[in-house]
């Protein structure tokens, strides 16, 4: 499709974003093929090699139970990706629905929905997540759901703002003048044009969700050991930071590089998806 080609051509001009995209692709491959590329079993305990430093046998060293850190980071990337995408997916669905309704219908509907958004935003979301997780059983599903349900407000605001400006635009009016029903106007005219900033926000949102999950696991209320996640490896690293720096540095780097990559891709997408810039392209 020609539009996709155009977006790709613009995206390609930003080398940092391309680097970010490549890293994300590698991470996705790593997550999918973790069982094949990981040198050890992630939960295999090796009493003889507790806290051994990075070396030939264990490139990233081992943890306090002798488990291979590289293996655990590779498996941990599965958790991060799942949480990042699913949580953002949930946030996208809720945010797009709420934002579209508020922006399209305006008036009282808009006021009520947006006050609800303000209410949700006024809540410190991390505390809210902590509270919910402490009631529910902490497993990856509840974490994804809770992060998604507390993270849709920015998307809703963005979508609403896009709707407010797009619904007055001439091409939307032309569609209305042609007799298009509201459903057609919303789904065919407005929503496709409202989605670019949402995709950009979603990319940043994935990074945010990964950070939150790492934070929760670090605090011990995320993914429960022995299942590996970047956050709980870091948590173990904290206890041994004086004797085993590698337990903190490698998962930390993994989080840093991943979040940075998503953010770089987000930046690139923002420029590539702007139709005003397509015009200049010609």
């Amino acid at each position: 499709m020609r539009l996709a080609g155009l977006v790709w051509r613009r995206f390609r001009k930003n080398p940092l974003s391309v680097a970010g995209a490549v890293i994300i692709l590698l991470l996705i491959c790593a997550a999918i093929f973790a069982p094949y590329i990981a040198p050890y079993n992630p939960t295999h305990i090796d009493i003889d090699n507790i806290l051994s430093p990075p070396g030939l046998r264990h490139p990233f060293g081992t943890d306090e139970l002798g488990r291979d850190v590289l293996t655990r980071i590779l498996y941990g990337s599965r958790v991060s990706l799942e949480v990042g995408f699913v949580a953002m997916g949930i946030a996208l669905v809720i945010g797009v629905i709420v934002g579209s309704i508020a922006g399209f219908y305006g008036g009282k509907v808009d006021s009520v929905l947006m006050r609800f958004v303000d209410m949700m935003l006024a809540f410190p979301s991390f505390v809210l997540i902590l509270a919910v997780i402490s009631i529910l059983e902490p497993n990856i599903l509840t974490i994804m759901a809770v992060i998604g349900i507390t993270g849709w407000m920015d998307v809703a605001r963005l979508v609403r703002a896009e709707f407010l400006s797009l619904k007055e635009r001439d091409f939307v009016l032309a569609s209305k003048a042609a007799g298009a029903p509201n459903s057609r106007i919303i789904f065919k005219e407005i929503l496709p044009n409202a989605m670019s900033p949402v995709f950009v926000a979603a990319t940043f949102g994935v990074a945010g969700a990964i950070l939150i999950e790492a934070g929760l696991s670090f605090l011990g209320i995320g993914v429960q050991p022995p299942a590996p996640s970047w956050g709980n490896i870091l948590s173990a690293g904290k206890d041994n930071i004086e004797v085993a720096w590698w337990l903190s540095v490698f998962p930390g780097l993994a989080i840093l590089i991943t979040v940075l990559s998503y953010n770089l891709v987000g930046e690139g997408l923002r420029d590539a998806l702007d139709p005003r810039l397509w015009q200049a392209e010609k």
């Binding site: 091409f171 003048a177 042609a178 298009a180 044009n193 139709p275 397509w278 010609k282």
Partner: protein
């Protein structure tokens, strides 16, 4: 002659808030305008920017609701139509916008755009949609190869042709053309204008033709209404109006058109800017800029009516309709 569409005493006010605690003032975009268009005729509406022309166009299209007043289509108020009646209205009345860059959805192909009205109104069977789209494009001078392209691949003139094709898709009786030329190069303007005029002759389409360009309005219109600050200040047969403008504002507008006849005395163009439609001057809204103002102008609002002095022509000016 039976009017195709009629607007009665249309008013549209927008609230304007000055500061957080300031009192709400009202921007009078359209302030008591009545017009009517009959079958196969062109009503030109002229005025500077901010005169309320575009707002009026959108109200006539039933795209925004007026604060008061009615728009009658075949004798029925368009804001009280049920779903099926509204659909019939949408088939009969179409709009072309000023900015062809903003009036096409950037993410949809030309085919999507032109086929939309055909699909909504079931005007062609599945196989016939493409044929009809090709035919519509031919009517506006574009080839079938443009169907799969996106708006950003076209120039302004080409886009405006696409917009006209979309408007024509439903075979409308009336097209509201809101400054359809002003975003285009002069050489392109003539082409688009000729397409519109040709359609008038061939398809017997009526137009409400909104423009600030008097030469264009003179060329295409049968009747002309001059708007200033949301009101019509003069309305007449196009030929009469251009030959002998009555209202000083109309005179001023005519004077601002570059004259091609050397040695012809130039009339005085209106000085200064249009006042804000939030603070419309008292009395005649044009009096601060009017070279002919006298006694009653800053106190009494002139009625828009005809009188023996104006030879029965409609004008809102104390020179022609002395206040009692």
């Amino acid at each position: 002659m039976e009017a195709l569409i009629k607007a009665e005493d249309i008013r549209k006010l927008y609230p304007v808030k000055r500061g957080v605690f300031g009192k709400t003032e009202w921007l009078k975009a359209v302030d008591g305008v009545s017009i009517s268009v009959s079958e196969n005729s062109v009503l030109g509406i002229v005025g500077e920017s901010g005169s309320g022309k575009s707002t009026l166009a959108r109200i006539i299209m039933a795209l925004i609701e007026p604060t008061s007043g009615r728009v009658l289509f075949q004798g029925r108020d368009v804001f009280g139509l049920n779903k099926a009646e509204l659909k019939a209205f949408r088939r009969a009345v179409q709009i072309i916008f000023q900015d062809p860059f903003a009036s096409l959805n950037p993410r949809r192909t030309v085919f999507d755009t032109i086929a939309e009205p055909l699909k909504i109104h079931h005007l062609a069977q599945n196989g016939g949609v493409r044929d009809r789209a090709v035919q519509l494009l031919r009517d506006v001078g574009l080839g079938p190869e443009v169907l799969t392209r996106y708006p950003h691949e076209f120039s302004g003139g080409q886009r405006q042709r696409i917009c006209i094709a979309r408007a024509l898709a439903v075979s409308p009786r009336l097209i509201v053309a809101d400054e359809p030329l002003s975003a285009l190069d002069v050489s392109i303007q003539a082409q688009i204008l000729n397409i519109l005029r040709e359609l008038k002759e061939r398809e017997r389409i009526s137009y409400i033709f909104i423009s600030h360009d008097l030469r264009v309005v003179e060329y295409i219109s049968d009747e002309v209404a001059v708007m200033y600050l949301g009101r019509i200040v003069e309305q007449a047969d196009a030929e009469e109006l251009f030959k002998r403008p009555l209202h000083p504002y109309t005179e001023g507008l005519l004077a601002s058109v570059p004259e091609l006849v050397p040695g012809k005395p130039r009339r005085q163009a209106p000085k200064g800017d249009v006042p804000s439609p939030v603070d419309i001057p008292p009395g005649c809204p044009f009096h601060p800029r009017c070279p002919k103002r006298f006694g009653p102008c800053d106190k009494i609002v002139p009625r828009f009516t005809s009188s023996p002095q104006s030879d029965g022509r409609l004008v809102a000016c104390h020179l022609w309709n002395p206040a009692e």
